[in-house]
Symmetry: C2
Subunit: 233 residues, 2 copies
Amino acid sequence: MEQPGEIKKVSMAVIKRLPKYYKCLGNLLKNNVERVSSQDLSKILGFTASQIRQDLNNFGEFGQQGYGYNVLQLYTEISKILGLNTLHKMVLVGAGNLGQALANYSEFRTHGFDIIAIFDTNPNLIGRKINNTPIYSVEDMEYFINENDVDIAILTVPKDKTEKVVEVLSKTCIRGIWNFTPAEITTDDDTDDIIVENVHLIDSLFTLSYRINEDKLQERLLKQKRKIFPDCR
Amino acid sequence: MEQPGEIKKVSMAVIKRLPKYYKCLGNLLKNNVERVSSQDLSKILGFTASQIRQDLNNFGEFGQQGYGYNVLQLYTEISKILGLNTLHKMVLVGAGNLGQALANYSEFRTHGFDIIAIFDTNPNLIGRKINNTPIYSVEDMEYFINENDVDIAILTVPKDKTEKVVEVLSKTCIRGIWNFTPAEITTDDDTDDIIVENVHLIDSLFTLSYRINEDKLQERLLKQKRKIFPDCR
């Protein structure tokens, strides 16, 4: 049983649903919706109303029986919970195609995530700018991050360069690594205060492949079952 | 209670864990590990052993009490479950930076996902190649997809072009859309047999931001609790 002096660790599954609540409430606000019940949210989001109430209860008492949630209040609270009420300074390491795509992505800045510098080893890129953000030599990275209190490093370097870059980052004040490389970054003593969020694109493709394949799979499983229970249809 | 003639629909949470099992078993195979217990898998993956057994039970009886799982057999089965035992033909729509990054990503082909054509509206790009894959005019897309039995379309077009592209795709034999645009694709009568997998990069960034912010958040929640229960420390 949870004691009043303790706060339960919030599960990763709940954390992953927070951005969906945030976006949904943002849309409701845009449409001038002032209050919303967990049942309404359930219809929009596809999670059960009870799940939604449980999720939000992790962070305080927001709703009111018979009234529902105040949309603006809940939106503002979730924005704070996600740390979106402060500006996050980011650097991008690796100015290849993916790095350039991310540097040009305007949605980050809209939500307070600002890429203030890009680092690369290619002398043809150093000194140039992408979307007004300067590209510097990776040799200046450690100094720059510490001087400018950078929060987050976006990693878009080739797989075999990842370890070296993480080694440098572990000497800085960086608090989070957003890892787009196929390399799995494991934190050791040097880096265990750095949070790593891995974007494994291939996992998402595998999920799509599963879902395309699901009907055939169900048929196959059913056939296997029929062998075991020959009477069933 | 599940009947022998029925197959329970597998939850999205389980589906999202399958790629992790697949990769983990692939690594074990590379290291010549022949069998593995759910406890061993638990240590590597961070899910509980009971969760792992439950997940895998959705797809048949793989393990054996006291022996564990045969690594090669389980790897092969999960590969089939994910549809990785067949070649998937893909097209990429939108040859901007992100499209180019994905077209150059070699891991897809390794797993049987082959980008066979790229489509764009930019006359300067049409006729050129990225990573040996030709860029065609988007006007030829519908014909090309149907002629070549393409499975999956990767969407890397600007947000405001998404709807139009989806409209065209809905007239083709495409079975899955891997959506990298910020637009939310909702399926209607025309498209409800197309599976959409949305890659919302900003959600992943929000999750990272939450995790960086978590300690401060816990302190704030604890303070709120102390107001309600002033005796607790």
